[in-house]
Amino acid sequence: MSSVTVSAAGTAAGLLSRRRIGSAGRRVLSRVLAAVLVLFASATVTFFALHLTPGDPVRAVLGGPTANPSPATIAATIAEFGLDQPLHVQYGLYMSRLASGNLGMSFSQRQPVVDVIAAQVGPTLQLMASSIVVAWLLALASVMATTRRHPLLQGLGSALETISAALPQFWLALVLLAIFAFGLRWFPPQGNQGALSLVLPTLALALPLAGFLAQVTRESLELALDQPFILSARTRGLSDGAVRWRHALRHAVLPGISLSAWAVGSLIGNAVLVEVIFSRQGLGRVLYQAVTRQDMPLTIGVTLLVTLVYILASAAADLIFVLVDPRLKAQHL
């Protein structure tokens, strides 16, 4: 959920390895091609994940397990969605429609998937953007203030980071609700009206992520501060603060940037929980409803969007990485 220190190492390696292409134009083209392939594969994974497991899509279409449709309606529905075809035919049908840009109709909401997503995407993107920004600010504040300072301060910073990283978002959301919404009444307990309603959901997502980013950044800041160029800068008369901010920080943020694409992905996943708890509109809640109601087109639609966001976030993270560390670019251009 948050302190996935475990998969972090793998993530960093994977993201770095993908940054290896030729000239700028070729790089963009091959990235776009790779993205299309990934989207295609993502839809495939979702399609089969939903079909490998038991469940009755006909009932899903007609309003879930509690519906009581007539045999005629069932037959009509089966014909309409091609549900009587073998799985590979259904897959072929779905994919060919997808290739032409048609995400289909939502089973449960009875309207085009595109419309459902378009209506809900805004609040989720807003929540993610504010969460990642807040997470980075908190992480940098903690790391820059406490790394290699007084042992007590350092221990405190490190402990706070470890604890934040271990907080499950859904529990944190409930605790924040109990304290700040119901107890102190500073923020509204639910909905997405106004900036105030964004504060608690953002904190619930950002705190654990901040703990995680801080752990990664702290480690790399410590490594950076041990590098000879730091000593070298100090022999030129630079102060400790100048060395930290002007030299070490730039090196220290690199691993965190690599992990940020993964972090954005995990934020969408966790948005499911947070949006449900705060009764916020958004893709997370839509996805949750789509999955529980076995609404295949809507589920695939949302996972495709999630994949797309992940791809874009990866591209953005790579771009930022190269801006911070131009050595990589020089190797490829």
């Binding site: 030729g22 590098q227 000879p228 160029f229 000593l231 070298s232 800068a233 100090r234 022999t235 030129r236 008369g237 630079l238 102060s239 100048a242 002007r246 030299h247 730039r250 090196h251 911070v324 560390d325 131009p326 050595r327 020089a330 190797q331 490829h332």
Partner: protein, 548 residues
Amino acid sequence: MTEATVRPALVVEGLAVTLGRGVHRRRVVSDVSFTVAPGKAVALVGESGSGKSVTARSLVGLAGDGADVTARALRYGNIDLSALDERAWRRLRGKDIGFVLQDALVSLDPLRVVGDEIAEALAAHGWGTAASRKRRVLELLDSVGIPEPELRARQRPDQLSGGLRQRALIATALALDPPILIADEPTTALDTTVQAQILALLETIKQRGTGLLIISHDLAVVSRIADEVVVLNHGEAMEQGPTAEVLSRPRHAYTRLLINSVPGARPRKPRAAPATTETVLEADGLVKSYVGPDGVDRVAVDDVGFALKAGRTIGIVGESGSGKSTTARIALGLLDPDHGAVRFDGAPWAGSGEARVRERDRRRQRPHLGVVYQDPLSSFDPRWTVAEILGDALDAGGVPAAEHATRIGELLERVRLPVETAGRRPLQLSGGQRQRIAIARSLAASPKVIVCDEPVSALDVSVQAQVLELLDELQRETGVAYLFISHDLGVIRQVSDEVLVMFGGRVVERGPTEEVLGNPQHLFTQKLVAAIPAHVAGLDAVGASLPG
């Protein structure tokens, strides 16, 4: 430059430094004294752990957290350095005392352009305006001999060659024209020919009136530039005095050991002709190219060949990127050549196309072709003890498990290691001990040839000498042949019967070692020969007169 004023000197008397915390706390420097006068160069010489770097760092107040620095006198001009607080130290660093670390690739911020690094040194002391700093940066780059300063100022360390990079690093330290310049291993990790250029630059700086303090493990460097030398061992000054005197008439045994250990100080000892003259490893017309990261083919090895006879040593010398290590890997059968072929022990060993040899066919013979790497640690499985490492090699040579214990004891004895070493892990051993284990491993199956790829480059000189000695003795005892790769012509001179000089993937010169060294034909070889320590004033005579 301030020619009129007298530049202050740096006076150190009875310096002592204590480092570490708790049980690890110990004194690393005791009672070291010297004076760095304007226009003079003092050298601190010692091996790793001698306390030379700590000494240098405590002169700019950067000995490290928890360091306790005391001295009878620690003066720069009229300033008492032992009384400075951090703020005062900062004003002094860079402005009064400049500092150059080794390896500019990591001692300059790898993410910034060198112009910014130099300008930052100026800005830290409030020097000039942004525009005047910019001009000063170009001036400085020019003064340390960097061509096209406008272009270079906008490049990062990784975009510069090793020599330019080191010059740029020196420029950062010279930015405010400090009267004193401390250089910590300024030429280590540079190719031999580049080393000479950097030393020449330091010489110029000295002649401009700057006082130099040079920290080095390398007597050759010291003999070229220092007026006075301080020999450090375990934090204590063993001997000190004018360079020529200390090097030509060393009084202390440790100084003699250091001088005697300089590779190439003595030519190869004469030896009896080997019993057989069969050729054991033979390469012919080797070519290997790589596709670089930019998609362009690079020829790493171009038409390289040699014939190694039993009990003899062929040395391959060259700078980084000369193709010597690629040649070693092809000879080992770990890399297939694009053209050409290798024969080992009379049978095809590696080739290309039709002549390609399958790994399956090589495997049986592999134990008879040993290898010793520069970094032995990474060549050992980190989970294993020495006994397991050697047992594994004995397994490969088909020695029955029942005999392992006896044979491991024998192998350790052969490489002059105590038997207790068997129970330890490589990580717990010193660099020299690790290299001995690597040699023991390669000896496990009575090899005919051992390929040594820079086997002593990472070792201190005295340890280097011991390992070279060991290799020499093993050759006499067992008649093993060596293919010996090194960037150090001194090392090559000491061990090789025959030498191949590689440059840009090609063999530019070859022949019996003393012939090539005595009368180098190729320009590159001449440069290399000019740079080896044995040809440095003073050392030649000493080396020859010392008992072997």
